[in-house]
Assembly symmetry: C2
Homo-oligomer: 256 residues x 2
């Protein structure tokens, strides 16, 4: 299929020290040559942020001495940009991001550094996949995720990847043998109801922690949330053209 061994770029948003990226590296190693460029610290919730007002550092990571592995001071999207511009001598055949410690279904795709790295890869024309496990535990069990990674990567490398999209893969927290299968889904219309935990510091000044509840109010069978709740892996093909084409004619009626 490919003349050369596939070149696989690995990144994440939990940082290069996370168990999730270690599990991902193990799962993709049999498929090609692996290069890692990942944040040097947790970068959860960074969305599509890039570092424009500060410098970036990037150093070889001692965590993976057998690989070309770099820890970067920036965001997940910075990591992808640095990898392509400064580390790799050719465009990778595949970008995989994750495995995220925690869910990135529904509207979480917008806040997710894991998924933004995959979206950035897609903008660069690279087949790109973000993987997330429904378990925030730093020591989560990634066996089901690894089984999923292997299956999805095998199919991605042996098919023509659709243009201008990436894949948002979420994996239920189940032992591999209990995962019922994989569903291709749409992003559920489910959002966070935010709450802030307001506290006071030693000077009596207020500060806030962002908290909230995820309102799962779109349970249609074609959604990622339904799939995950019913024991399936969800895959949402995810695009970066954010134009709401259906609204163009309506806005044209406004006589602007």
């Amino acid at each position: 299929m490919l003349d050369k061994k596939p070149l696989i770029l690995v990144t994440n948003d939990d940082g290069i020290q996370a168990k999730g990226i270690s599990s991902l590296i193990q799962a993709v190693l049999p498929f090609g040559e692996v290069v890692v460029v990942a944040p040097d610290k947790p970068q959860s919730g960074m969305g599509h942020a890039i570092t424009v007002n500060d410098v970036l550092r990037m150093n070889r990571s001692p965590l993976y001495p057998e690989l070309q592995a770099y820890a970067c001071s920036g965001t997940p999207v910075d990591c992808v940009k640095l990898a392509i511009s400064e580390v790799l001598d050719r465009k990778p055949d595949l970008l995989v991001s994750g495995v995220n410690h925690g869910e990135n279904s529904a509207s979480n795709v917008l806040y997710s550094g894991t998924m933004s790295a995959a979206v950035e890869g897609a903008m660069e024309g690279i087949p790109s996949i973000g993987f997330s496990l429904l378990d925030f535990d730093p020591d989560a069990d990634f066996r089901g995720a690894q089984q999923t990674v292997k299956k999805v990567v095998e199919r991605v490398l042996s098919n023509q990847f659709p243009k201008s999209i990436c894949l948002n893969v979420n994996i239920p927290q189940l032992p591999p043998e209990e995962i019922k299968g994989i569903k291709i889904c749409r992003q559920a219309k489910a959002y966070w109801a935010d709450n802030f935990d307001k506290r006071y510091d030693q000077f009596g000044k207020p500060y806030y922690w962002l908290t909230g509840d995820f309102n799962r109010d779109d349970w249609s069978e074609d959604t990622d949330i339904w799939a995950l709740d019913n024991g399936y892996v969800s895959i949402v093909p995810t695009q970066f053209d954010m134009t709401a084409y259906h609204a163009i004619s309506e806005l044209n009626q406004w006589g602007l």
Copy 2:
């Protein structure tokens, strides 16, 4: 149309001290009650980032003593969330973000804190608009932008706003009388070709500045880039459902 005076939430990503937000506040003041919650420092390129691993601070800003105006330590999206949860006693009738010092056309929408604040507003069900001027100068001339803000806000407040979208408004750097009009557009398929400026510090260690060239290679007349290049304001209706619906059937062929 509304029983009460419209409640208008103003934010941006260049920070509460920027000329752009001052110009925006001036332009929207005649339309309703204005509340400002904006970053306390520049937050360009923050995309849809939220602050999950640190606390947030929010204090009354002395810059706008006549208004309810707060400076927040977080990202533009944090500002929107804090405003809705902690500052406002009802859901605003309108959210305006900007006026950004610099363009947010084409794929820039993904990196833009200005637009991510508007997207967050849309997710909260608020009619939301991001405004950007094609001029990075801190002392840019915002007269054309202010004329545009007034026209667009007037139409938004007097029409039913489409569900689940926000507006991405870019304004060419022209005197008001030379702006040819407003075009409803799609997001151009134009992307950054990244370059990093690699330098060495006083210890001989490398660091990187993100730079790049914007490849304007989609010049169709229905794009935002075309409109701006031809003297028009561009408005792209922008959605947050990132599902690539057209790819679902193709992926179902893969037998995953």
